[in-house]
Amino acid sequence: MTDLDAIPAFRNGVVGDSEVGVSGLSSALAGGSGVKSASEVVAIILLAVVIVGSVQIALTVLNVPQYVFPKPSEIAIALVKDFPLIAPHLFYTLVELASGFAIGAASGLVLAAIITQFPFVEKVITPYILILVTTPMLALVPLLILRFGFGYTPRVIAVALASGPMVMINAATGFRRVDRGKIALAHSYGASTLQVFWKVRAPMALPMIFVGLMVGSIFGLLTAVGAEMVGGGFGLGNRLTSYSSMIQMPQFFAVVLILSTLGILIYVLFFLLAKRFASWEA
C-alpha cells in the first residue's frame, strides 16, 4: 500500500530477494535439479552399496572391535531386532517435533505476515529474530528443564523456538518480495489491503514459505533430539545417550539411521509440497 505512491519508474522489478525463490529451494536444498534420471538413481544406490560393502569388508579385515565401530550387518540386525524397543521413542520424538513445529511455524508465519506490513516494525524486530535464529536453542534446554521438568514441555518449547524464527525469517523474505506492478494491478481493480494480501502477497511468498518450513522443520528435529539428549527418559536422543553409555553400538547406529531417514522424509515432504503448490517459479 505505502509503496504505491513511489516513483513509478521503479515499480516493475521485484523488490526484495527475488533470487532466493524456489530456485533457491531447488538449488540449495535439492542439490541442483530436483528431478533425477533413472541412471542417476542407479548410480546413487550403487554408490551406497559400494560404501556400505567396503566398510563391512574393511571392518572385518581390520578386525575393528564392535564398540569402536559396528559392522553394517550388525547395525542392520540391531535395527530389525530392537525396532520394537526403539519405536515408542521414535513416536515421542515425532510428537515433540510435530507439536513444537506446529506452534513455531504457525506463530512464525503470522508474525512474518504482520510485521512485513509495517516496514518500521520489521526493521526494529529483525535483529532480535536474527539472534533467535543464530542462537542454538539447545542452550536454553537445561533452563527449560529446571522450570518445566523432564516431560514434553521443555522439548516442545525448544523445538518451537528453533523452528519458529527460521520459518519467520524466510516467510518475511517472501512477503517482502513486493512486485509493485502486481500490487498496483490488484489496486487498479479496487482491491482492499486484505485482498492484496491473500491474492498477491501470500501466493508470491509461498515459495519462500516452503523454504522456511523445510529448514525450520529440520532445525526442529535437531533441537528435539538434542533436548532429549540433555535430559528426560524418553525420545530418540535419550536412546542415543543411553545406548552409547551402555556401549551398545549397533543399536546406537540404528537410531542414527532412523534419525537420518526421518530428516530425509521431512525434506522430501516439503520438497513435494513446494513442487505441487509453488512450482510456478521453479
Binding site: A9, S188, Y189, G190, Q195, M204, A278, W280
Partner: protein
C-alpha cells in the same frame, strides 16, 4: 470522435501536477498538464524518458494521487481505482501462479462480480488465445502474455483503457501485430484509449491525437491530430504525410533533449570551475 463532440470529453486532465518527495529534495514529475480526451478517442502520450508520462497515466487511473489539479472522468473527479478504467501495464503483469483463465478471472474475484464468459471467449478468440486458458504465463511468449493481459483488461468492459508502454518489451514484428490487434478490437468495440509509448510510429498508427510532453517537469508541449483514415494499413504508414508527422514529433522531442544536453554541459562546466 463524433461522440466526443456530442457528449463532452470523456477524460479531462485539469492542470495536473505531481511532486515526489525524494531524498534529494522535491522532484516535480509533471507540472500543470491540461488536455481533454474524447469518448472513444485514442490518444497517445509521447515524450522523452523521465518526462512523467507514466506518472500522468497512473494519476488518470486513480492509482496515484495528484499533488495538484484533477482528472475528471465523465465530469466526475477520479480519486481512486475506478471500475470503468482498465489498465494494461508495461510488462504483461500476469500473475505467474495463475493460468491464463485464472488471470482473466482475477479482476472479477477482486470486484466480486461475475465474468461475462461469452465476451471473454470472444476476446480470447480475437487475440488468438482460445485453447490457451490452461497455460501458465511462463509457457507463453511475450506477445501472447501481453495479449492475455489485454483480454484481462478488456474483460470487464471498461469504458477507458489506459495502456502504459504496453508493447515496449516486444520485438518490432510482434509489436506491429499487437498494434493491428488493438486497432481491430477498438474498431469493433470502441473504448477510450490512452496509450503511453516510446514509439512515435506506434503512436501515429493507433492515435486520433498525440500529446507530446516536454522533459521534466513534464508539461504538454504540443498536441498533434493524426488525420489518417482507419484501418491504417502498412501502405498508409509508408506515405510522406506520416513520415512528415513522425519527423515533426521526433524533432520536437529530440530538440528538447539537445537543449537539455547543452544546459547539462553548462552546469557541469560551472561545477568544475571552482
Amino acid at each position: 470522435m463524433f461522440a466526443a463532440a456530442r457528449s463532452g470529453p470523456k477524460l479531462q486532465i485539469l492542470s495536473a501536477a505531481k511532486v515526489y518527495n525524494t531524498r534529494s529534495g522535491d522532484l516535480v514529475a509533471i507540472d500543470r498538464c491540461s488536455f481533454d480526451i474524447g469518448a472513444e478517442e485514442i490518444v497517445s502520450i509521447v515524450g522523452p524518458s523521465g518526462c512523467g508520462k507514466t506518472t500522468l497515466l497512473w494519476s488518470m487511473s486513480g492509482l496515484h494521487p495528484l499533488t495538484a489539479g484533477e482528472v475528471l472522468l465523465d465530469g466526475r473527479p477520479v480519486r481512486g481505482p475506478h471500475p470503468e478504467i482498465g489498465m494494461v501495464f508495461q510488462d504483461a503483469n500476469l500473475l505467474p501462479w495463475r493460468n491464463v483463465d485464472a488471470n482473466i478471472r482475477f479482476p472479477f474475484e477482486i470486484k466480486g462480480t461475475k465474468p461475462d464468459r461469452a465476451w471473454i471467449d470472444e476476446l480470447l478468440t480475437r487475440v488468438g488465445l482460445d485453447g490457451f486458458g490452461e497455460r501458465f504465463p511462463r509457457e507463453l511468449s511475450g506477445g501472447m502474455q501481453q495479449r492475455a493481459a489485454l483480454v484481462r483488461a478488456l474483460s470487464f468492459k471498461p469504458s477507458v483503457l489506459l495502456m502504459d508502454e504496453p508493447f515496449g518489451a516486444l520485438d518490432s514484428f510482434t509489436r506491429e501485430e499487437m498494434n493491428h490487434l488493438v486497432e481491430e478490437i477498438w474498431m469493433s468495440a470502441p473504448t477510450t484509449i490512452v496509450l503511453i509509448t516510446h514509439s512515435i510510429e506506434e503512436a501515429i498508427f493507433l492515435s486520433d491525437r498525440i500529446v507530446v510532453m516536454s522533459p521534466r517537469p513534464g508539461r504538454v508541449a504540443s498536441i498533434h491530430t493524426v488525420p489518417f483514415p482507419r484501418p491504417r494499413s502498412i501502405q498508409i504508414m509508408a506515405t510522406k504525410d506520416v513520415f512528415d508527422l513522425l519527423n515533426r514529433i521526433k524533432l520536437e522531442i529530440v530538440g528538447d533533449r539537445q537543449r537539455q544536453g547543452k544546459s547539462a554541459e553548462k552546469a557541469k562546466a560551472l561545477a568544475v570551475e571552482p
